[in-house]
């Protein structure tokens, strides 16, 4: 059975990583690249085989699980080193191996000048392996291996240029902020075990509707904790600050880790746990709000940045916000859809920006670019396609996925969510085209000593492929599929997302009843949702218009009237605020980081050294002091000694009588 190959998928990159890590210096650069890409390619091929194997599963079986070995356990707790293949996993596997493979190939060109080329690929492969574990694990803890593993690789890759302080700081920051999320994730896992007695996804999801009360406290706490975990990994408010800094890493890293795969792990996790989230309306609302809010906020910051990669980073934050928004309104398919298309176009964008940076020798400031269109045509055109996609222009992939998110946020959510989505869409179109215009159009502001050039084939080919994918990716989720009965992502993910609300509510009602409480009326929740194709169509046109408006705005500001931004921003305190990213970093620094460090110093110097050790040494000194006092009596005079005997005598008498 082809499915038996499952465990090979993460294994190949791991082996590649080990080979490169240990022998990379010896086997030479070409071999390193070959090993890295080869392992990813094998992984990709295996994924295809598994896909075929999955299709051959008997009717009605949607999950295939493979337990490699029992990882560890204690008492009645056991956790397997097991993988599961289901539709969601397959989608993610393809994204990871597919996009991963393309970016690996690209990296061969991009990283070619690097001395520690092998190190890069070792980490990169390791990342892919961890990411695959994350999406393939059949229980929360195995997912957590991947979860932390990708964070760890991200740490190394961000800090790849370890001699740069900013890179190191960014890496550390990424890791630690992620850890805050992981902290919540871990607690959630423990809580889940506490309630369910297992942490296998399928068991938990299966049992959840029967063990948890709809809207109950437990499920809310669990999902909230999970969500905090997701915000860390996926760079959402309030834990998003690490992602822009993470751009210190090499550009392929930004493309693969900080755009296509790792940062979407939070979305994946929420979709994976959709049953739990479905049970907690409060959490859902929170997710939607945070997602929408992040989308808008990051987009505003994106408008003001000048570092090409930072703009893309904020754009990523913003787009992931979209996905969370979709999750929050229960449109998990839309979230995954957007995740996939985003992987395509954002990877392409990042790689394109990498190509630009490569072409002008490492310059990242857009104010020192401009007019590059003619110098690097392939890059330009692929970049443009992806930009159109992200802006949501028909018929590129972004249009469909974004539109689905917006449609659901209105239909399943409310007007506020929709409003957030739309404004983010407007801003996205604006800042993305600002980026395109500033980089590729207009006058060249490039340092005259630099001669921009197009990147080698090995880099442009991936761009072309990704641009192609960004173009056609929308086919995965053509709208109106309800009417046309197309085999799209919707029906593909149906087994994963199947959730019988009525059943869950019935159980909850029973449980509440048993506890002697009245179940609230849930009847309105069970009303069937209507799908109005008219509204959907209308919304499409509207969002298209919004996107075009954004593009036009960018055109006005940066092509037609380049002096406008200056004028516009003159004396605007608000802009200052945005430009400085709302001073969130500074706020965290002042309110958390510095107090912690200062407090720790205080603890060390005052509490440890003075209080505790002081007490210890003080005891010793007191003893010493007594010792010196005792010496005084030993005066050497016989008569004194005799006096002591007499004094002793008298004291003893006093005690006696």
């Amino acid at each position: 059975m082809l499915l038996k190959l499952t465990c090979l998928v993460p294994l190949f990159p791991l082996i590649g990583s080990i080979i490169n890590g240990f022998f990379g210096l010896r086997i030479g650069k070409n071999a390193v690249g070959l090993v890295a890409c080869g392992s990813m390619g094998l992984s990709f091929l295996t994924s295809i085989l598994i896909y075929i194997g999955y299709l051959m599963l008997p009717e009605g079986q949607h999950i295939y699980e493979q337990v490699a070995w029992t990882w560890f356990g204690a008492g009645d707790f056991t956790v397997d080193f097991g993988f599961q293949i289901d539709p969601l996993t397959l989608v993610m596997m393809f994204v990871v191996t597919g996009v991963g493979l393309i970016i690996h190939v690209y990296s061969i060109g991009y990283m070619h000048e690097e001395y520690s080329y092998y190190r890069f690929f070792a980490y990169f492969n390791l990342f892919a392996s961890a990411m695959l574990l994350l999406v393939m694990g059949n229980n929360f803890l195995l997912m957590f291996i991947g979860w932390e593993g990708v964070g760890c690789c991200s740490y190394f890759l961000i800090g790849y240029y370890f001699e740069k302080k900013s890179a190191c700081d960014a890496g550390t920051k990424a890791f630690i902020v992620n850890r805050v999320g992981d902290f919540a994730f871990l607690l959630a896992v423990m809580y889940i075990f506490n309630i369910f007695g297992t942490i296998d996804f399928s068991d938990v999801m299966h049992a959840a509707p029967e063990k948890l009360i709809y809207g109950g406290e437990i499920v809310t706490i669990i999902t909230m904790l999970l969500f905090v975990g997701a915000t860390g990994k996926s760079a959402q408010i309030p834990l998003y600050t690490w992602l822009p800094d993470a751009m210190e890493g090499p550009t392929p890293v930004s493309a693969l880790i900080h755009a296509a795969t790792m940062v979407t792990a939070g979305v994946y996790m929420i979709v994976r746990c959709n049953v739990l989230f479905n049970l907690s309306p409060l959490t859902m609302t929170t997710v939607a709000f945070i997602g929408g809010g992040t989308a808008v906020m990051a987009a505003t910051i994106g408008m003001t940045q000048f570092d090409i990669k930072r703009v893309l980073a904020y754009s990523t934050v913003s787009q992931i916000g979209y996905m969370f928004l979709a999750c929050g309104v229960g449109a998990y398919t839309a979230a995954i859809f957007h995740l996939v298309t985003h992987a395509f176009f954002k990877a392409c964008l990042f790689l394109g920006s990498g190509s630009v940076i490569h072409g002008i020798h490492g310059e990242q400031d857009m104010r020192k670019m401009g007019g590059l269109k003619s110098h690097m045509p392939v890059t330009y055109w692929t970049f443009l396609v992806s930009t159109l996609a992200i802006a949501g222009i028909f018929p590129l992939s972004g249009f469909f996925s974004k539109d689905e998110v917006l449609y659901h946020s209105l239909m399943d959510g409310n007007i506020i969510f929709w409003g957030m989505g739309v404004s983010a869409a407007l801003l996205t179109a604006f800042y993305m085209f600002r980026l395109v215009f500033m980089t590729f159009h207009g006058e060249s502001r490039v340092d005259p000593s630099v001669h921009p050039h197009e990147s080698p084939k090995v880099m442009t080919m991936p761009l072309v492929i990704l641009a192609g994918l960004a173009t056609v990716g929308g086919l995965l989720g053509i709208p109106f599929h309800h009417y046309w009965h197309l085999h799209t992502l919707h029906s593909w993910l149906e087994p994963v997302l199947h959730f019988d609300l009525a059943n869950a509510l019935e159980h909850s009602g029973h449980m509440l009843h048993e506890a002697g409480r009245h179940a609230p009326s849930w009847a309105h929740l069970l009303e069937p949702k209507t799908h109005d194709w008219m509204i959907e169509l209308l919304l499409m046109f509207f969002s298209l218009a919004v996107a075009l408006t954004g593009i036009f705005g960018a055109y006005m500001f940066y092509i037609k009237r380049p002096d406008l931004p200056e004028k516009f921003t003159e004396g605007q305190w608000g802009l200052d605020l945005v430009q400085n990213k709302y001073y969130i970093d500074e706020l965290y620094d002042e309110s958390i980081v510095q107090p912690t460090i200062e407090g720790s110093k205080l603890l060390w110097k005052e509490c440890d050294a003075k209080a505790i050790d002081g007490a210890v040494n003080g005891t010793a000194q007191t003893i010493g002091w007594f010792s010196r006092q005792a010496q005084v009596f030993q005066s050497g005079f016989v008569r004194n000694y005799a006096l002591f005997i007499v004094v002793g005598f008298i004291s003893l008498l006093l005690v006696m009588f």
């Binding site: 003893i623 010493g624 010496q631 003893l652 008498l653 005690v655």
Partner: protein
């Protein structure tokens, strides 16, 4: 008037050790006339005498046996103590030979004095009559006064002798006065009779008797160097010749504890509520003052003197426990203490040379790498003194603490335990110098065979009692 001494109550066989040793002591005195400068014969005779004494001690069967109107007893306690005494005297003699030669102490009576002193100790440990106790104490003391000052030309030795003598005599006054009061209130000097007498509850509250007890405590307390009657000890230990110091801190002390135990734990157990508190105070004070005093010392002999004060505090717990476990723990403690103390002082002697005794602790710097075996032995002794396993000191302390806990003296034990921790500091300090400091000056030590032999005996005794204490414990706990 009752007959004072019935002839049939005189049992010379029971008295054999005393007699044998006295004879040998006098023999040594006589032999000294011929020996000239060579003291080998004297030493040999002394050792033989001690050996004979030890053997003769077991001549009496069955035990317990009484002699001289029940004023002299041969029982397990005394037999065991006689063994301790003979061993310690023998070790002291062995230690002295080379030391005396080195330091130019040529007095032949030195050995005789040690033997006489041992006679006193045996009497003290075997006596069940206050008169006998007094005699024993005085025999021991007078010999020690002389021994302490045997280096006639040494100012310190002189001063030590003077201080010891004056204070000793002073304390003897208290002891005697106490004995008188006990005698006056009970009508007897014999411990058995006294014990019988104080069975009567009304007799127990006699203020005269209580006063007598306090005075006895002072007398004995002085002999065992317990606080606040300890002040002589550091000065005398420091000033006396080192072998004498070693001897003093083992034999006479053990003997005094034997008497202490006999008088308090065996004679007045019913009155323990009235003296337990006093002894506890003294014990606690001894531990604290001894340990605190030792911390600041730079002279090793003085430090060991203070350490011996603190040990007196621990041993007092055995007296306070007053059970059979108390007596056996006392025996075991004294035996292990004998080995350790002689070992330590042997090393102190080894470290010195003629003219420079190297008594400062800093003289030990770096010893471990120049003379590893000596340093290791010293470390073993010190750790044993500190009560660390697997050495004799640990088992001994365990024993005493057990005895005390069995009697419910938990507070006392906890204080003792804390004191052990304090004491660790100064014992470790010596180890610090030996192992962790760089050598300061060239070691010119006197590695002489007999002293080394004493070290060897000490090490073997310390380790053996620490790891295989069963035999001795079985003996001691009869």
């Amino acid at each position: 008037m009752e007959p004072i001494l019935a002839p049939e109550s005189i049992d010379l066989i029971a008295l054999a050790p005393v007699l044998v040793l006295s004879v040998f002591a006098m023999l040594v005195l006589v032999l000294d006339l011929w020996g000239g400068r060579n003291k080998t014969l004297l030493v040999f005779t002394s050792l033989v005498g001690l050996l004979m004494t030890a053997i003769s001690a077991f001549a009496k069967h069955p035990i317990p046996a009484y002699s001289f109107n029940d004023s002299y007893v041969v029982d397990h306690l005394s037999l065991f103590f006689i063994c301790i005494f003979t061993i310690s005297s023998a070790l002291a003699i062995l230690l002295s030979v080379e030391y005396n030669e080195r330091e130019g102490i040529r007095a032949g009576e030195y050995y005789a004095l040690i033997l006489f002193c041992t006679v006193g100790m045996i009497l003290l440990a075997s006596s069940t009559d206050m008169v006998m106790i007094f005699l024993g104490i005085e025999i021991v003391s007078i010999c020690l006064y002389v021994l302490a000052g045997i280096r006639r030309n040494d100012h310190r030795s002189n001063e030590a002798a003077l201080k010891y003598f004056l204070l000793g005599a002073f304390a003897t006054g208290f002891l005697l006065y106490g004995m008188t009061m006990v005698y006056g209130s009970t009508g007897s000097t014999n411990l058995f009779k006294i014990a019988e007498f104080v069975q009567n509850p009304s007799a127990q509250s006699n203020p005269l008797l209580l006063m007598g007890l306090v005075l006895l405590i002072i007398g004995f307390g002085f002999k065992v160097a317990s606080v606040p009657f300890h002040m002589w000890a550091p000065d005398v230990y420091q000033g006396a010749p080192t072998p004498v110091t070693a001897f003093m801190s083992v034999g006479p002390k053990a003997a005094a504890f034997a008497a202490f135990f006999r008088v308090f734990a065996e004679t007045f157990p019913e009155m323990s509520p009235s003296w337990e508190m006093l002894l506890s105070i003294i014990a606690v004070l001894s531990m604290f003052v001894g340990n605190l005093g030792a911390i600041m010392q730079t002279n090793i002999k003085r430090m060991l003197a203070f350490s011996s004060i603190s040990h007196a505090g621990y041993i007092l717990m055995a007296v306070i426990a007053k059970s059979s476990l108390g007596s056996s723990s006392l025996l075991f403690y004294m035996l292990s203490y004998a080995f350790v103390t002689f070992g330590v002082f042997a090393i102190v002697i080894i470290l010195g040379r003629k003219g420079e005794e190297n008594l400062e602790i800093k003289n030990y710097s770096g010893l471990a790498y120049k003379h590893p075996v000596i340093a290791l032995s010293m470390a073993i002794f010190l750790l044993s003194l500190a009560g660390l396993p697997p050495f004799a000191g640990f088992v001994a302390k365990f024993y005493i603490f057990s005895a005390a806990i069995q009697e419910g003296l938990l507070t006392l034990v906890i204080i003792a335990v804390l004191n052990s921790a304090i004491s660790l500091y100064y014992y470790l300090k010596v180890i610090v110098f030996m192992y962790m400091k760089e050598q300061e000056a060239e070691f010119r030590i006197s590695l002489t065979p007999m002293t080394l032999f004493v070290v060897l005996v000490g090490v073997i005794g310390t380790i053996n009692l620490g790891i295989f204490p069963n035999a001795i414990i079985t003996l001691a706990s009869h």
